[in-house]
């Protein structure tokens, strides 16, 4: 109970800070939307092709935005060594990991919905699927992405090689998430509910795996230096 309560407290802290400063949200929204528009333009005006590409474009835009958001959320804790204060205050260190993953899931889900909304408009997918139908994919892929990203950010630390190490370690971990989200949302767009549900189970398993890994290892990899 202490773990869940403290994680909620810390997630609330991150969301409150993010809503007050809006720096991370603005940066990720701009990056995600730009990526979607630019790749959409590069793909050309073929509507059928754009519809086919929409899930992949949206997920890739979300992944790049996740990197920016992770940097921003991590910076909140590293500025003025706030993480040192948290580390010594909190009774269960895993709450720091879980709280950060929860906050990032909320922010990525909001961003994912905005990106899908843009995809509906720019890539003309609204005839195939509703925003409500895509919601479980947005929530689960955000949860898997957030839980993996927060863990990798903690492993990489704040060193000079972080810029290189973060994407190199994170992107391979997230390939299954990317494939499950793309294939699942494509199945949804093709009105194949059974296949879509199967991919949702895969996404849920990935999210559970990453959260489990984070809870097992964060106390050893997340300590402030």
């Amino acid at each position: 109970m202490t773990l869940a309560r403290d994680a909620l407290l810390l997630a609330h802290k991150d969301l409150r800070i993010e809503l007050r400063s809006r720096a991370g949200l603005a940066a990720t929204m701009t990056l995600g939307a730009s990526a979607l528009v630019i790749v959409g333009l590069a793909a050309g005006p073929d509507i059928a092709q754009l519809r086919n590409l929409a899930p992949a474009l949206t997920v890739i835009a979300l992944l790049f935005a996740a990197l920016v958001l992770a940097e921003r959320l991590d910076a909140i804790d590293r500025e003025h060594e706030a993480l040192v204060g948290l580390w010594l205050s909190v009774r269960d260190k895993r709450a720091i990991y879980l709280g950060k993953a929860m906050a990032m899931t909320v922010l990525l889900s909001a961003l994912g919905l905005v990106l899908w909304l843009l995809a509906f408009v720019l890539l003309d997918v609204r005839a195939d699927v509703s925003l409500l139908g895509i919601l479980p994919f947005v929530l689960l892929s955000s949860s898997a992405t957030a839980s993996a990203t927060v863990l990798v950010v903690a492993i990489v630390g704040a060193g000079e090689r972080r810029v290189l190490l973060l994407p190199v370690l994170l992107m391979p971990m997230l390939v299954p998430t990317l494939l499950a989200t793309v294939n699942g949302s494509r199945a949804l767009m093709a009105s194949d509910a059974v296949t879509a549900a199967g991919w949702l189970v895969v996404l849920a398993a990935e999210a559970a795996l990453f959260i489990g890994l984070g809870l097992l290892t964060y106390e050893f990899v997340g300590a402030p230096e």
């Binding site: 909140i76 060594e81 706030a82 204060g85």
Partner: protein, 224 residues
């Protein structure tokens, strides 16, 4: 005003044996020994780069010693809460002073009802609702100390508590540190501010080049 926490504080003994810390090839601390108990105020004194901050970070468990051991034991074997107030302050810029303290207290399982009193006794009631981003460095240092105390620690480690403070604010901080000792906490302060820390100390340990010499407690308990 003396603010006593409602939480029962464990009686603890901190013992450091043969403590050493190497950074690369540089010896920051060597052969450090200390045994200190609840209700003591130990001042670690020394010039810049003498190993004071390294020692506090070791005692807080924020870095591992290259050699030696640190043990913090409580009489009943319960968890010992440690607060470290470093140069950086450990505050979230976009939270108010009060929000920073409440968050720290909740995470530590301490009583949040004393938060305003903690701010008040450090002369910070007027800035309780202000975001820390807009506070002066001296005010931030006092908020950081209040944040540390809000977690109701059995061990309070404070690095240069008087740095950047005017005389009035430094006197307030000294009084609060003395109160923290009188409340039964073990308080360890690193400072190069001689006169004020001398008045405060039960014991003074001089550090120079990472090596320690204990100079006793000439003015011990003057501020009790």
């Amino acid at each position: 005003m003396l603010v006593m926490s409602r939480t029962r504080r464990p009686s603890i003994v901190l013992s450091a044996r043969g403590l050493a810390k190497l950074y690369g090839g540089t010896l920051a601390l060597v052969g450090f020994e200390l045994t200190a108990r609840s209700g003591e105020l130990v001042v670690i004194r020394g010039p810049n780069a003498s190993g004071k901050s390294t020692l506090l970070r070791l005692l807080a468990g924020l870095t591992s010693p290259s050699a030696g051991t640190i043990n913090v034991t409580s009489e009943a074997g319960e968890r010992v809460a440690v607060a470290f107030v470093g140069h950086a302050g450990h505050l979230f810029d976009d939270l108010s002073a009060e929000e920073n303290l409440i968050l720290a207290a909740r995470l530590a399982g301490a009583d949040t009802g004393t938060v305003m009193s903690q701010l008040d006794r450090l002369g910070l009631a007027a800035v309780a609702g202000s975001r820390c981003r807009g506070l002066s460095s001296g005010t931030r240092r006092r908020v950081a100390l209040a944040r540390g105390l809000a977690t109701d620690p059995a061990v309070l480690l404070v690095d240069e508590p008087f740095a950047g403070l005017d005389a009035g604010a430094a006197d307030l901080v000294a009084a609060v540190l003395a109160e923290a000792r009188n409340e039964g906490r073990l308080v360890i302060v690193a400072s190069h501010e001689d006169a004020r820390s001398e008045r405060l100390a039960d014991r003074t340990i001089e550090l120079a080049g990472g090596r320690a010499t204990e100079t006793g407690s000439a003015a011990a308990g003057q501020m009790r």
